[in-house]
């Protein structure tokens, strides 16, 4: 089984606060991990450190496979562009994606008929769904998702869980945070509260 | 029982889409209402119409008591100000609140020790909690809350539910939206999907 992410004795300091210490984690292909912890326990900070966005104040060693997708609290979408245009640029990293692929992804997240709607005119949940459509376009093996279920309705959550499972079955791995208990077969949980400093 | 909100045959049109029609609702003091509906069904639009923020495209009649608190998707907080400063201005509507009251509210939402931290340096959930601290400072009788549970952890959600119940017991009323099923005694549910046009 290929290993996609390894945390050795990772700790994190923000400002003057030591958030947590001694986190050990190995994520192999096919695994689905939920990161839990109370508000302010450091989940977002940890995910950003793994992605390589913020390494200041991080102790220990993080080894992460380079083929990685990160979706943070912020959607990274432009409210002046349409759904299609947002994805055309967003998911690609410079490689042109055929429009049919984008429309397919938008259909998967339940946005048929909104392809050419400007993002700013969608509801909160619909906007989050556009961001999630990246998951149907991504070729990365490790997904790091910060609260992907936010603002998503019940049907949407089920659909998203399906997609996470599918990715794991296809040899990828997912680390996501969520405050809701998630009932998915084979889910592993890392509770940051246990490592609180 | 005093009536705090009355919707008669309310419909809503956004752009060229008719979102829903014929919504009837009476909210009396002491009632706790959850507004549900799939993404894009018009919950946010309805709450904003009730609050009087957006009446374009609204059909039917809305009668709402003037003593009302609205908390939308956006927190209405300044990330450059501290928690205390944010609340000092935010909850007041021009009436100075004693600092002790603010610190008490911040303690209720679990932010002891963060009173003088700049909001931008808090985690997503902690920022939402600062917004929710308004509920401990408000004197309004009708609360309109759009997805108040977003980004709040398990303990925080329990605490928030308690506060909503307490407000209803004290003769207030709450209308909130949430995609998570909420297990609270006496909860009433309005499903917007049933009124979809």
């Amino acid at each position: 089984m290929t290993q996609l992410l390894k945390l050795q004795d990772v700790g994190l300091e923000r400002g003057v606060r030591q958030l947590f210490t001694g986190v050990q984690l190995e994520v192999a292909a096919g695994e689905l991990w939920q990161l839990v912890g109370s508000n302010g326990s450091g989940k977002t900070s940890l995910l950003r450190a793994v992605a390589g966005l913020a390494r200041l104040g991080v102790q220990g060693s993080i080894t992460c496979c380079p083929s990685m997708l990160f979706q943070g609290h912020l959607p990274g979408l432009k409210s002046a562009l349409t759904c299609r245009e947002n994805l055309l640029w967003h998911a690609s990293g410079g490689v042109a994606i055929p429009l049919s692929g984008i429309d397919h992804a938008l259909a998967e997240v339940g946005l048929v008929g909104y392809e050419d709607t400007v993002l700013g005119q969608l509801s909160a949940g619909q906007q989050r769904r556009v961001g999630l459509a990246r998951l149907w376009l991504s070729k990365a093996s490790l997904w790091l998702l910060d609260e992907p279920f936010t603002a998503i309705d019940v049907d949407g959550s089920a659909m998203l869980e399906q997609q996470l499972l599918r990715h794991c079955q296809n040899g990828g791995a997912v680390v996501f945070t969520s405050h809701q208990p998630t009932a998915v077969a084979g889910l592993r949980v890392l509770d940051l509260n246990q490592y609180a400093a | 029982m005093t009536q705090l909100l009355k919707l008669q045959d309310v419909g809503l049109e956004r752009g060229v889409r008719q979102l829903f029609t014929g919504v009837q609702l009476e909210v009396a003091a002491g009632e706790l209402w959850q507004l549900v509906g799939s993404n894009g069904s018009g919950k946010t639009s309805l709450l904003r119409a009730v609050a009087g923020l957006a009446r374009l495209g609204v059909q039917g009649s809305i009668t709402c008591c003037p003593s009302m608190l609205f908390q939308g998707h956006l927190p209405g907080l300044k990330s450059a100000l501290t928690c205390r400063e944010n609340l000092l201005w935010h909850a007041s509507g021009g009436v100075a609140i004693p600092l002790s009251g603010i610190d008490h509210a911040l303690a209720e939402v679990g932010l002891v020790g963060y009173e003088d931290t700049v909001l931008g340096q808090l985690s997503a959930g902690q920022q939402r909690r600062v917004g929710l601290a308004r509920l401990w400072l408000s004197k309004a009788s009708l609360w309109l809350l759009d997805e108040p549970f977003t980004a709040i952890d398990v303990d925080g959600s329990a605490m928030l539910e308690q506060q909503l119940l307490r407000h209803c017991q004290n003769g207030g009323a709450v209308v909130f939206t949430s995609h998570q099923p909420t297990a609270v005694a006496g909860l009433r549910v309005l499903d917007l999907n049933q009124y979809a046009a």
Partner: protein, 243 residues
């Protein structure tokens, strides 16, 4: 009175009114324009100081006068739309802006062309010219604001607020530009206006001014009618109207 306003505010009634009015106005206005232009260009005698270049006056002054009046029409429509929330007033306001801007543009261009033989420069910073340029900017502002909104109902309200603020300002702007000019007045520019105009030039000018007012009404009505077609394309009354 109220019934009349109400009728005017109803899209079906107005659509019918505009269609009829356009059919009648179109030949009348075009006829008057051609008549006035031929009179002014070919039959009126030349000015004793400026020679033939003054013939531009027959389009320059009417366009300038009507453009200025147009702003007040637009602002009035804005007031009606804000106070009485009559939808047709929104449509009217939206229709006036491009027409007014076009007329202002015409006044500026013809003035500039006139300036070359008269003052030897395409452009000088004379008080009236500057005021006209500012009026052009005011129109462009309203158009740009309208285009910037996605929600056209909100756009109309925003433009109404803007044009009302503009109306409060127009007299102040005009006065201040006058003062500005009289403070500086360089020796090299002499404005020839303000001379008594001969009847042989006045009559074609009056004809053209009337024709331009008619043209303004015509353009606004055509724009409004088209706007109604676009807005109400789904609605039953429009279909029966066209059917």
């Amino acid at each position: 009175m109220w019934a009349f306003i109400h009728k005017f505010g109803s899209p079906p009634w107005f659509f019918r009114f505009a269609s009829t009015a356009v059919r009648w106005l179109l030949p009348v206005v075009i006829g008057a324009l051609v008549f006035g232009a031929v009179w002014g260009l070919l039959y009126a005698p030349p000015d004793f100081r400026q020679g033939n270049s003054y013939r531009i006056i027959f389009i320059h002054v009417p366009s300038a006068v009507v453009a200025l009046a147009g702003y007040y029409v637009m602002a009035s429509a804005g007031l009606v739309s804000l106070v009485w929330k009559i939808k047709m007033a929104d449509t009217a306001m939206r229709a006036v802006a491009p027409v007014g801007a076009a007329l202002t543009f015409v006044a500026l261009v013809t003035g500039a062309i006139w300036g070359k033989p008269t003052w030897g420069a395409w452009w000088v910073w004379d008080a009236r010219i500057t005021s006209m340029l500012i009026l052009f900017f005011l129109y462009l502002g309203v158009i740009a604001l309208f285009e910037a909104y996605d929600n056209k109902a909100a756009a109309a309200k925003a433009c109404a607020v803007l044009s009302l603020v503009g109306t409060v300002n127009i007299p102040i702007i005009y006065k201040s530009v006058d003062w500005w000019y009289s403070l500086h007045q360089p020796a090299s520019i002499k404005f020839t206006g303000e001379t008594a105009i001969d009847a042989s030039m006045l009559y074609p000018l009056l004809v053209m001014i009337a024709a331009f007012y008619g043209l303004f009404a015509l353009l606004v009505l055509v724009n409004m009618r088209t706007e109604l077609l676009a807005t109400y394309r789904q609605s039953a009354w429009l279909r029966s109207e066209l059917g």
